[in-house]
Symmetry: C2
């Protein structure tokens, strides 16, 4: 791999990105100083600038590396050619595990993507869309009534909401681990999707047959 650079160069970069991701996640990209990053890495500021051109370079690498890992994870699961239900359950489990061990990068991707240029944002967002598509296509396959009502994507995003939000409140150490949460999310989703129906409120004209059709 590392050709032309000392063998530890890439390792040092990874180490810096890890420390930077932690600081960005804790304090936000803007409020994090390069002095702080250098200090956390045990480097002088000029030394830090030897590995990354500028602060933005850190951000874009953290975000990019994270989505690339997610894409690789999707490919890995897809290649196992599991049944649709088993595939979706495995995707959920693997994402929970991946997010758990990449929490800082994940938070940076969620909260600091706004600091990327439009070009970089678009590239990252397209990668994310590929990932969510792997989920939503399986969802549409499992529950055709969702796809027909164009609810496969929204419902898939509700699933991502459960998973993504988990890392804002869940702290392992009690009676539950991250691994325990994956099947809970999966059971809730698989049990609930059959109950999801398209909205009855035909938006444009407020027709007077206001039976509400609730329940």
């Amino acid at each position: 791999m590392a050709r032309g650079r000392s063998s530890g160069y890439e390792d040092q970069r990874e180490l810096i990105l890890s420390h930077a991701a932690e600081l960005f996640a804790q304090r936000g990209y803007s409020a994090t100083s390069m002095n702080g990053v250098a200090e956390a890495c045990g480097l002088s500021k000029p030394a830090l600038y030897h590995y990354f051109r500028d602060k933005y370079d850190l951000l874009v690498n953290i975000a990019e590396n994270h989505v690339v890992r997610l894409q690789a994870l999707v490919c890995e699961v897809t290649n196992k050619s599991l049944e649709p239900e088993a595939r979706l359950r495995e995707l959920i489990r693997r994402f929970v595990v991946e997010y758990a061990q990449a929490q800082h990068a994940h938070r940076v991707l969620v909260e600091d993507i706004k600091f990327l240029t439009e070009e970089d944002q678009t590239r990252i967002l397209n990668a994310e869309r590929q990932v969510t598509h792997a989920f939503s296509s399986t969802v549409a396959q499992l529950w055709p009534h969702l796809g027909q009502a164009h609810l496969d994507k929204p419902t898939t995003m509700l699933l991502f909401g459960m998973i993504n939000w988990m890392f804002t409140w869940f702290r392992p150490g009690g009676s539950l681990s991250y691994e325990d949460m994956a099947p809970i999310v999966a059971d809730l989703f698989f049990g609930g999707v059959p109950s999801v129906r398209p909205p009855v409120t035909t938006n444009p004209p407020p027709s007077s047959d206001s039976t509400k059709a609730d329940t």
Copy 2:
């Protein structure tokens, strides 16, 4: 008429908070300058400082006002003494509507709470806990098996995940409105919760003293 302050003073404060919340949500608290806030409000910077002591004062007011509105919303729904299922469905609907019309403040509460002092963070977090408790107690009431397995709080947080995450991806204007999303979330949740089972992994010895001093 004017009692101590001119009649427009409080109105001006609300207007400033609204503009500041939008900027904080778009660019983050740290990356937003007081010059930018003043400009967005059509005020000079000294004029802005006439209404708020400093930048932090803006942040704490945005967060506080938002959680207070959420608490008021919970009280309003609770006082209607609905059946548990109707109450939870109404809570979901009202929160989706509230978040939709307070998206900027909501995002600030989620992403910029880290810039508050520990004291202010604790106060806001306690208010949030009161809100989530209104949900989780209804959840435990509806599905006793969840409460017995200590899964009422985690499951409730998965529900909040669906709702909170919605505002990162959902844009109304297609065939779905925010109002349409509420029953979809509710149906998914009500349909799925009966399928949620406690994890079989028995990680540590689950000591029964884990009441968490809540409820």
